[in-house]
Every structure is written in C-alpha cells, then in structure tokens.
Symmetry: C2
Subunit: 398 residues, 2 copies
C-alpha cells in the first residue's frame, strides 16, 4: 500500500482587493514581517517581542489588563477561549443574538454545559438595552452577559458601555466580541469595564487570519482561576496559558505560531504609528464616501444610519439582480472581493468591507466603479459616474 | 482613562540555526510563500490550493483518507481535536505514557470526561507492546488506544504497526501522535490502519508553527459523526469542520489562516520534490553522523540505539556541567538553538533536533564544533576535533 507522490507546483495567489467581511487587505510591511527567519518560541529575543506584543494589544484594547495576549488560533478560538474559561456547567449566560455571531455564542454556552438565555434582536438592529435589562431582571441567577459589539453578519454596531454597566449592576461578568470592531471603531476595555474580550487579526488590524487577541480583567481572571471544575479545553485553559504568556514564568505550553506573531507585531506597530483615533477617523471618512457613492447610484444600505459599522457596509441587492453573479464578475474582472450575505441575509445583501489597510480612498473609488459597471450591465440604472463624484466630494470635504 | 501609545519598532529576529525540539529551520522558499498576498478564505483560487494541500498531506501521511486536512492551530489543537471528537463522556481510553506528550493525552481524556487507563513506560523507552496487550485484555470495555509514535520529550520511537493491530483485535480505535514523526521517519497511516492521527507543521515539515495536519479514516469518522453527545468544542467539531474542508460544500466555519497555509503548501511541495523515502534517509544519515560525532567526544546518548529518533537526539549532560549555561553559550555565541530537557529530564539532557530542513551536513558539523568548544571550555575532555572527523566519515560513507 503506497500513496503516490502528487505533482503540484508553488501556489501564486492572484492579487485581489479584499473588501469583504475579512480577511482584509494586508499591507506589504506585514507580509514581509511574516517572512523573517523563524526563531524558537522560547528564544530570549522572541520573548522580548512577546512583551511588546502584549503592550501593543493593551493599547488597541485601551486597557491596562495584565492578561492581554493573542490566542494561537482564529477569532473563533478567541470566542471559545472566553466561554470555556468563564462558563462552568450550569452557569446561566444571557446571550444577545442579533446576527450569526451571537448565535455562535449561544452554541458555545451549550457546549460548555452552561444555560443560555437568549435575547433576540432583528438582524441589522443593535442589541436592545431595554431587552437586556428585562432579561437581567428576570434572571437574577445569571452569571454572564455576552454580546457582539460589531456584528460581522449584519453590519450593525452595538454600544458596549451601557450594556456592560447594566450587567455589572446585576452582578454579571461580561464577554464582548470585538472581532470586527477592534481597530475600526472605539473599543475601550477599561473605560467600559469589559471583563473578557476577544478579537481577530484579519479584520481592522489588517493582519492575515489565524490569531485572536484577548484580554481579561481581574474579575474575569478570578473566575477563571478559582472555578470548581477544570476548564474543558486543555489548549484554551487560561491557567496553563498564563504560564507561557506571563513575563515571569515562560513555561512551555504549546508552540506559538512564531511568524504569524511577527505579522501581528508589525500590524500593531502600523496602528501605533497612525494612532488609534486617526484610524477610527479614517474608517469613518472612507465609509461616508462609500455610502454617498452607493446612494448616488440608487443603492440602499441595509442598516439604519446611526447603527452602521464604518468598516462593514451592508448593501441591499436590488430587486431582480443575481447577487452571486455580481460577486463573481467583481472577482473575475476587477479582482475585487466583497462578501455574500450570511444565514438569513444570504442572497439579500452584499457585505462591503473597509477594514484596516483596505479603508483607503482608492479602494472606495475602485469599488464604486466596479459596482457601477457590473450593475449597469445587469440592467440597474446607475446614473453614470455619479457614484464616484459623490464619494470624491465626501473625501475632499475631509 | 486612556492607554498611551507605545513606541516600539519593527522586530528583526536574529538568524538562528534551530536544532531544538521544534520549531526547526524554515527554508527561504517557505518563508517567501508566507509573504504572498493574502486572498479570501473562500476565494476559488484558495479553494483550489486547499484541495492540493489535502492531497499533499495524504501523501506525507501515506493515506487515501478523504478527511485529511490541517487544523487551524498548533499541534496541541490537533491532539485536542482528536480527543474531543472521538472520546465521549464515560469512554474508557487506554493511554500509553512514556513521556510528556503521553501525559498530555491523559489530560485530554480527563477533560473530555473519558476514563483514562494509563500504561506507563520509562522516559526514553518505547511503548511496551506487552503492557498494552495486558491493558487491552484487562479492559474489554476500552474504546480507544492512544499513544505517541515519536516522543518529543524523550527522543524515543515506538512502533505503531503492532500497537494498532492489537487495538483493533480488541475492538479499539486508535489515536496516534505523529507530531515529531511526520516527515522524519515512516508514518504509514493506511498500511498500519491508524484511525486518527495528528501532527504539527513545525517539526520535520519545516514550516513555521501554527498548523496541525490531521487524518481520520472511515471508522473514526463513523464515531465522530454518530456520537450521542455533541463534541464539546465548537471550533474543533469535525461535523462542522467538514463543511468547510469538504470539496463539495465549503460552508463558512472559521476563517482559515491563509498565509500560514501558503507556507504549509510550499513546505509539502518541497517534500513532494525530494520524495518521502529520500527525506527519511536524509534524516537517518545526518543522525548517524551527529551521533558518531557526539560519541567521539565522549558524550552519551540517552535513548538505547534501536529506539532512537533520527530527528531528535537526546544527549546526556556530563556530570558537573551546567546544562543551561551550555545552551546559553550555544545561543549567544553560535546562534545555535538546542532544547532543554522537559519534565523529569530537565537539567539531565539536551534535545538536539535534526528536523526537516535542519537535517543537513553543515548543521551536523556546526553543532559538533559548537559543542566541542563550549564543553571544552567547561572542562570536559572533548578530544580535539575528533567529533567533526567522526561525523564526516559517516557522511562520506553515505
């Protein structure tokens, strides 16, 4: 029994413009950083870089939490790491579900043998503070409130500040998903007193996918380190991970993804250089230009204006247009990737990302030109070059 | 409350020669592949690359298993993925523990609420077939036998073929750890009929750490897809992962680590070009040269000759020598990384890897020269340049 040698050659990816829900365009600096020579995951030089990484992550999360580091896995592992460490069997968890990722949180509670209490909101709407207050009052035995700040499936932004405050009034810890939020809109872990937070590398941080920054405050760590039952995951157990990421011990736990961490370090440096506030403003400016352009050609945004994510724009597919065919042409003829609708929104919206490095005027213009041409061919009245003009007006106003 | 901007600069890693227990030296081709432009994880071109990756992994695992793919996490996640999918609460699992990684398997069984039955062997010895037979006979209700083929903590090689055959005679599935084995010594998943197997990217595949190739045969998949209780991990649930990695569906599950997968594809191409048998022979040849050199200067190998791993050489620290000081000088003066002893072997051995791209004559020579100089300075009689001569003689004999 012998399995023959395959005959493949090196993979040369096409040059795309990534304006979907992530991964986003990765700047050359970050790609080059990932190609630097691999060193050992316990090398003193690597350890020094890890300390810088933690400090850079504290800056983007706006926290002084000691326990702030990137989990060695995609955002989904960041989510699971929060739930398996903070939820014990039987714990009641209030989960806000206004999109696919709130739904994934419910799944995580079930699999950790917690008891989910689901607060439902429409897809495209933010989490309702009133409903959460009712749920907290009706469930005095709830231990945790979990919600998504920036719903990647719907493009809706929720306000963490009042939600966390309510949870604390009712004695609950909070788990907040900032996968799509971090770097694109304000995320203020300390000011809002979020207890546990996770994100992903491949959205507004403009790093390749594969790492999940997390941060836990002292209350969350108290729960994770004094729980009665051990964490069900060996890999995600904070009690073990701390030994590796703590500056005093550096006990071997798993082998960290060395080169991926080089990339994250470089991506965070770029954010340090630009400054968080400037990055948020850049996302907003390009978002306004993109929306002006889409509206100029008669397209409708799915999310109501006050709740729109600058970094993820949900465009309603016009009546009679084949959304997949449009995406196919954008990719094949313009090398432009935009996202399809997920779950309940499949076929009904496009998800157009302006995340991190992708949030640039040239991308806004490229995207509007490509949509105008493809939709025009599909029989939609796109009003000539009005889209680009409208966008430029916003960009020039600053 | 505002967390100030840090002021760091780009991380430029030193140029090391990685001859520890992993990560191993990564060839420039693989590093360059990782720096190629990121594309979407559902892009048709990326999907085509994923199919090639699966085929390349089937070749290195020597299997036709349909379910063969890289898990998006380090080797430890590959281990956990096998246990959380195949062990149900209450399942009795016989685990062979002859080193740290067998111990980690026991931890995984406990955390999946299985019942471990531990077969102990000395650190440095292979798994005892006789003891496993006794354990299987004494536990007719056991469901799974789990063991490590190449123990990274001890340098001992166990023979999977008879162990898997015994397990099957007793109606058990098998989980085999090939993290350090794959690419360095024969791993024949189909010929040996291994049911579930996991590996890591950063050992003899010479790829940066962060990916865990796995393969499951039909019997393992039958168990994973018909189990009564759901898999406790959302991220590692094969029933969900299949939707993404299967060539027919490609349902979004998590965002795959795109650039890390470019690197693995390139590393596997290099193995395809060299040929598995040639790679195994290369590891063996360099290992023999290294051992001849170490023995020429009076050092002792920790593992008995028939059970030595070519890719991981355990050298006994001579009486009176400060092992950490030696490693420190090797790193500081020769940019040479070798590993410390783990667990029970801390302070007693060095772990000298010859993994993948690192298994080259120039590394053998560099390592012997460095050890000769540093040990000579530490007062050990290293017999002049005998080490290098002895190694060269082996290499020239071929």
């Amino acid at each position: 029994m012998k399995v023959d040698r395959p005959q493949f050659s090196s993979f040369e990816p096409p040059l795309r413009t990534l304006m979907g829900p992530g991964p986003s365009d990765v700047p050359p600096r970050v790609l080059q950083a990932m190609a630097r020579p691999t060193i050992g995951h316990l090398d003193p030089e690597f350890v020094r870089m890890m300390e810088e990484l933690k400090q850079l992550l504290r800056y983007v999360f706006q926290t002084t939490n000691e326990i702030t580091f990137p989990v060695s896995g995609p955002g989904s592992v960041g989510m699971e790491a929060c739930f398996v460490n903070l939820v014990e069997p039987g714990d009641k968890v209030i989960v806000c579900r206004n999109g696919a990722f709130g739904g994934r949180m419910v799944e995580n509670v079930v699999r950790t043998r917690g008891v989910p209490v689901v607060v439902e909101d429409d897809w495209g709407a933010p989490v309702s503070i009133g409903k959460v207050e009712v749920a907290l009052a009706a469930n005095p035995d709830a231990r945790i409130l979990a919600f998504v700040q920036a719903e990647t499936s719907t493009g809706a932004l929720s306000d963490p500040d009042p939600l966390v405050a309510l949870a604390h009034e009712h004695g609950c810890l909070t788990i907040v998903d900032t996968v799509t939020a971090l770097g694109g809109v304000p995320v203020k872990v300390d000011a809002w007193q979020i207890d546990a937070v996770y994100a992903g590398s491949q959205k507004c941080l403009s790093c390749p996918p594969g790492l999940a920054p997390v941060s836990f405050n002292e209350r969350a760590m108290e729960k994770a380190t004094t729980r009665k039952s051990p964490c069900q995951s060996w890999f995600m157990d904070l009690n073990l991970l701390l030994g590796y990421w703590s500056s005093s011990t550096r006990t071997y736990h798993h082998t960290a993804p060395v080169n991926a961490l080089y990339g994250l370090h470089e991506a965070l440096l770029m954010l340090q250089e630009e400054g968080l506030e400037a990055a948020w403003a850049r996302h907003l400016r390009n978002h306004r230009a993109l929306v002006a352009g889409f509206e100029a050609i008669g397209l409708t945004m799915f999310v109501a204006e006050p709740h729109r994510l600058p970094q993820l724009n949900m465009v309603v597919v016009p009546e009679g247009v084949d959304e997949a065919a449009v995406r196919g042409r954008l990719l094949a003829e313009f090398d432009l990737e935009v996202g399809a609708g997920l779950g309940a929104l499949a076929g009904k919206v496009w998800r157009v990302g302006l995340m991190g490095y992708a949030a640039r005027p040239e991308n806004v213009v490229k995207c509007l030109r490509a949509f105008s041409e493809v939709l025009g061919d599909a029989g939609v009245d796109v009003a000539g070059h009005e889209a680009e003009k409208a966008a430029q007006a916003v960009l020039q106003a600053g």
